[in-house]
C-alpha cells in the first residue's frame, strides 16, 4: 500500500454519531410536487387529500426517500455551495458528507455514490419537520485500478414530528478516489 489514507485522525471518526439535525424547513407541498413530478411518479398518495392513501397515512405525504434529500442549504448559511469563485475544476459538490458530521480528512477529490440499503417505517406528512442523525460506520481503503480508494460507510436515521416517529434508516457507501 503506497499511501495509507486511514490515518489516526480518520480512524477516530469511525463510530462517531452526530446529534439530531433538522432539515431546512418542514415538508412543503411544492417541494413534494417538484419531487414527484421530476420522478414522474403521479401516485395520489403524494397530493390527493381525498385518496385512500391519505386516509391511511393521515394526509398527503412525501415519497419514501424524500427525507434523504431534505437537508438542503439553510437560508442563513453564508457559505455558497457554488462559491468556488470561478474555479474551472470545481465540480459543484460539497465535500461535506453529512451536515452533522465532520469532514473525512482524506485528500481525494472524486466522489462516487456506491449504493444504499434502506429500511422504511413511515412517510413524512406535509408540514412535518424532518430530522436526521448520522454516524460513520466504517472507513476503509482499497486499491483500485487507478489508485487508492477510500470507502466511507454512513448510517443515517431519519425521524419526524415531535415524537421522533421513525421514517427510515439508511446505510450508504461513498467512494472517494
Amino acid at each position: 500500500m503506497a499511501v495509507n489514507h486511514i490515518t489516526d485522525a480518520v480512524r477516530a471518526l469511525i463510530g462517531l454519531r452526530s446529534d439530531w439535525i433538522e432539515a431546512c424547513h418542514p415538508v412543503e407541498a411544492s417541494e413534494v410536487r417538484r419531487f414527484f413530478q421530476a420522478l414522474m411518479d403521479p401516485n395520489p398518495r403524494y397530493w390527493d387529500a381525498a385518496s385512500p392513501a391519505a386516509a391511511r397515512y393521515g394526509g398527503p405525504v412525501a415519497p419514501p426517500g424524500f427525507a434523504v434529500h431534505a437537508f438542503r442549504r439553510p437560508p442563513d448559511e453564508i457559505e455558497d455551495p457554488l462559491g468556488a469563485d470561478g474555479d474551472p475544476e470545481f465540480d459543484g459538490t460539497s465535500r461535506l458528507v453529512r451536515r452533522g458530521l465532520p469532514r473525512v480528512p482524506v485528500p481525494l477529490r472524486g466522489v462516487l455514490n456506491g449504493g444504499y440499503e434502506y429500511e422504511f417505517f413511515s412517510y413524512p406528512r406535509l408540514g412535518e419537520r424532518i430530522l436526521c442523525r448520522s454516524a460513520y460506520r466504517d472507513i476503509t481503503q482499497r486499491e483500485g485500478r487507478s489508485g487508492p480508494m477510500v470507502l466511507i460507510v454512513v448510517e443515517d436515521e431519519y425521524a419526524t414530528g415531535g415524537e421522533f416517529r421513525p421514517l427510515l434508516k439508511s446505510v450508504s457507501t461513498l467512494i472517494t478516489r
Binding site: 418542514p26 412543503e28 411544492s30 439553510p74 437560508p75 442563513d76 455558497d80
Partner: protein
C-alpha cells in the same frame, strides 16, 4: 412556412389575444420557496428567513423577495405562445409595481390578462409585440404587485 400570412391576418390574430387568460390561480407563499429564491439571488437579508428580524422591521412575517413573482408567473398560468407567424418568441421587457409585501403563509391569487398586442415593422421584418399583465392579490384582497411582461415575436 408562414410567410404567406398577411399583415391584416396577423393583426386580427393579435387582436383576438386581448383579454383575460385562464382563471385566477391561488398559490401559497411557502418558506422553502422564499428560501430558494433568496439563495438563488444571493439575498441573505434575514427578513427572508427570520420571522423576528422581519417583524422588527415592521413586516407581518417572513418577506418574499420580489423576484418570487416569477415562480407564480411560471407555475400559475398556462398560455400558448403559438403565433401564426415568425420563428422565435423572446422576452422583451418587464415593468413592475410593488405594493403590499408578500409574506410567508399568504395565499396569493394571480390574475392574468393580455392587455396589448400589435404588429410593428422593424428593420428585420415583422415584429409582434404582446403585453401580458399579472395582478398579485393576497388573501385580504390587498394588491401586492402588478407585473407587465412584453414578449416579442419575430
Amino acid at each position: 412556412m408562414t410567410a404567406e400570412i398577411s399583415d391584416a391576418e396577423i393583426e386580427k390574430h393579435l387582436a383576438s389575444l386581448i383579454g383575460p387568460v385562464g382563471e385566477p390561480v391561488t398559490a401559497l407563499v411557502e418558506f422553502g420557496a422564499v428560501r430558494r429564491m433568496a439563495l438563488a439571488i444571493g439575498d441573505l437579508d434575514p427578513i427572508h428567513f427570520d420571522e423576528a428580524a422581519a417583524r422588527a422591521r415592521g413586516y407581518r412575517g417572513i418577506v418574499a423577495p420580489w423576484p418570487l413573482l416569477w415562480l407564480y408567473f411560471f407555475t400559475c398560468t398556462e398560455y400558448e405562445h403559438d403565433f401564426p407567424f415568425g420563428r422565435a418568441t423572446v422576452h422583451g421587457q418587464d415593468e413592475y409595481e410593488f405594493h403590499e409585501p408578500m409574506i410567508v403563509g399568504d395565499r396569493i391569487t394571480v390574475t392574468t390578462a393580455i392587455t396589448g398586442a400589435r404588429l410593428k415593422h422593424g428593420r428585420v421584418g415583422r415584429l409582434g409585440q404582446v403585453v401580458s399583465e399579472r395582478r398579485f392579490v393576497n388573501q385580504d384582497g390587498a394588491l401586492c404587485a402588478v407585473l407587465k411582461t412584453t414578449l416579442f415575436r419575430r
